[in-house]
């Protein structure tokens, strides 16, 4: 009995509180938070007793990121994870603003496998598009100078040939 209590206490001690930029609190296991290299470093130097502020990430984004980290800290079979990742991305990419913020936050928190996962999905959206279609889809302002555009057209004219 005594050993069980100690174990439970140990489990409890492993919890950490993260606070989003809009003051939402999330209590997660240490191993979940550790998926972020940045949070891991903060925990290593400051401990896990007091809440850790994640200033640049809003609550809805942090919630989604922690959902990812929790799933990925369980050590499940690869095929299970691949299916889960796909569903996670299918949901995320529906809202491009959310998707963009998710990419930015996972980059900021240094969760490399999530950054790569989002990059793969993002890259998929760029296939077989024209520059104008990409700008419209992602709301990008064309700030290239005339000279730069001309240079690209002379160097890479082949890529713009209509087939």
């Amino acid at each position: 009995m005594a050993t069980i209590i100690t174990k439970e206490q140990q489990e409890k001690e492993k919890m950490v509180t993260l606070v989003s930029s809009d003051s939402e609190k999330f209590v997660v296991e240490q191993k979940v938070a550790e998926k972020s290299h940045v949070i891991k470093m903060v925990m290593n130097c400051c401990g896990i007793e007091s809440p850790i502020p994640v200033r640049r990430v809003k609550g809805d984004i942090l919630k989604s990121i922690l959902e990812y980290c929790e799933k990925h800290s369980k050590g499940e079979a690869q095929e299970v994870m691949e299916k889960w990742d796909k569903e996670y991305m299918d949901k995320a990419e529906k809202d491009l603003v959310f998707f963009h913020d998710l990419m930015l936050a996972s980059h900021f928190l240094h969760i490399q496998e999530l950054v790569d996962l989002i990059a793969v999905t993002f890259a998929g959206m760029l296939k077989m598009k024209s520059p104008e279609e990409i700008r419209q889809k992602f709301n990008i302002n064309n700030d290239l100078t005339k000279e730069q555009e001309e240079h690209i057209m002379t160097t890479f004219g082949w890529a713009f040939q209509p087939i």
């Binding site: 980059h107 890259a123 598009k129 990409i134 700008r135 890479f156 082949w158 087939i163």
Partner: protein, 419 residues
């Protein structure tokens, strides 16, 4: 998208792969252009990615590859995969390899060159982790200075190489984990072509269409062995029981010896192969962890032999997926179905015929009765051979028979796959 740092955009573009899409994306704005120039890690020129390559001449393709590669810095993965009608000149190919050699980790290259370029000499060897070469010649390997300390994956397809160079190359890759040798044109120095490979790091090997009589492989940590389209006198694997996956397809071998390596096998897939059942069984009998067994289009060396289901069930208690497809000979089925040991853990069962016979239905009943926890049954059949009225009748009878049978096993998901 304005807030994404340039290195993140570089990461995204590195996952696009196809060179044309990368070039187009780099034209959207300044930041993306910079990302493409400074942070792009991966480029792929593949004639399957974009139809436009087909309308370009070989020299036009050379120019566009050169211009695109020279716009980047720090490329880590380069893939050039063109239709075999193209033959590049040596100069641009050497230029691409020299330009990327300090940073390149993965290289896939399949285009012939004239004159021949010895890719191994030109590419960066210090960082290379994966090298896949098609349609090239390898010669004069000198392991004293050509070393690949980080190479893990080596794939050679349709490559000309001498037996000596092959063994020297292998010796120059001390950390190799995955090796593919497919359709090599090997120049042998002696009359009896034999290949001996020894590696303690090798995990997976695929050998296909090699003109060799003997293969001796010493690999203590090998997990996956796949032999395909080979005609051998001897294949010997010396290992320490790490093998998990064994696949033999369209192989003729007089002496097959994987002796002590079978105890951790999880999947065995044997197809288009002549089996001597007692020998095969003896070899496999220690594989008590086997979860998947597939014997497809196999022929038995002795006319009286058949897969003995009783011993199969007893020997492989953890079997979950069983696939059997071979022609049933008259009078032997009863012998094959003898015994009553069930396949307790089999969830998926696949059965198939090449020439349909009346016995097939009996095999299905016999098997389904022995798999108490079956969830899925797949029947594979070849229909192109059904020509005579008698055969059509057999097929019709079998179909009605299956309909009746499955009423009894409503919980089993039934699928038909006909060729």
């Amino acid at each position: 998208m304005e807030h994404l740092p340039v290195e993140v955009v570089g990461n995204i573009l590195s996952h696009v792969g196809a060179a044309r899409d990368v070039v187009i994306a780099s034209m959207t704005c300044r930041k993306w252009r910079e990302a493409c120039r400074k942070h792009l890690q991966s480029l792929s020129f593949n004639s399957d990615d974009w139809q436009g390559y087909r309308d370009l001449t070989t020299s036009q393709i050379e120019i566009l590859i050169t211009q695109t590669i020279f716009q980047t810095m720090g490329l880590q993965c380069l893939s050039i995969h063109m239709d075999d009608k193209h033959k590049f000149s040596a100069a641009p190919v050497i230029a691409w390899l020299m330009y990327t050699r300090e940073t390149l980790r993965n290289l896939h290259y399949n285009v012939r060159t004239t004159p021949n370029v010895y890719i191994l000499e030109k590419c960066g060897r210090h960082k290379l982790e994966m090298l896949e070469l098609d349609h090239n010649t390898i010669s004069g390997v000198d392991p004293s200075y050509q070393r690949f300390p980080f190479l893990k994956v080596l794939s050679l397809r349709s490559v000309n190489i001498s037996a000596l160079d092959l063994s020297l190359l292998f010796a120059a890759c001390p950390g190799i984990e995955v090796l593919t040798l497919d359709h090599l044109e090997i120049v042998w120095s002696d009359a009896q072509p034999s290949m001996e490979l020894c590696s303690s790091t090798l995990k997976s090997i695929y050998i296909k269409s090699l003109g060799v009589d003997k293969i001796v492989l010493e690999a203590d940590n090998l997990e996956s062995l796949h032999l395909h389209a080979l005609n051998l006198d001897l294949f010997e694997l010396i290992g320490k029981g790490s093998l998990k996956h064994l696949r033999i397809d369209d192989v003729s071998v007089t002496h097959l010896d994987i002796g002590d390596c079978t105890e951790n096998l999880e999947a065995v897939d044997v197809s288009n192969f002549t089996i001597m059942w007692p020998k095969f069984y003896q070899m496999m009998s220690r594989a008590s962890k086997l979860r998947r067994l597939r014997l497809w289009s196999v022929v038995f060396d002795d006319d009286d032999e058949i897969v003995d289901l009783e011993t199969t069930a007893v020997c492989f208690p953890h079997l979950r997926h069983l696939s059997l497809g071979y022609d049933l000979k008259d009078g032997l089925l009863h012998y094959g179905l003898q015994g009553s040991s069930p396949f307790e853990n089999v969830l998926v069962l696949e059965l198939g015929w090449a020439v349909i016979s009346e016995q097939f239905g009996h095999l299905v009943v016999g098997m389904i009765e022995r798999c108490p926890n079956l969830k899925k049954l797949v029947i594979h059949g070849v229909l192109s051979d059904v020509k005579t009225r008698e055969e059509r009748q057999l097929l019709a009878n079998f179909t009605s028979f299956m309909v009746c049978l499955m009423r009894k096993y409503v919980h089993v998901d039934l699928q038909f796959e006909y060729e």
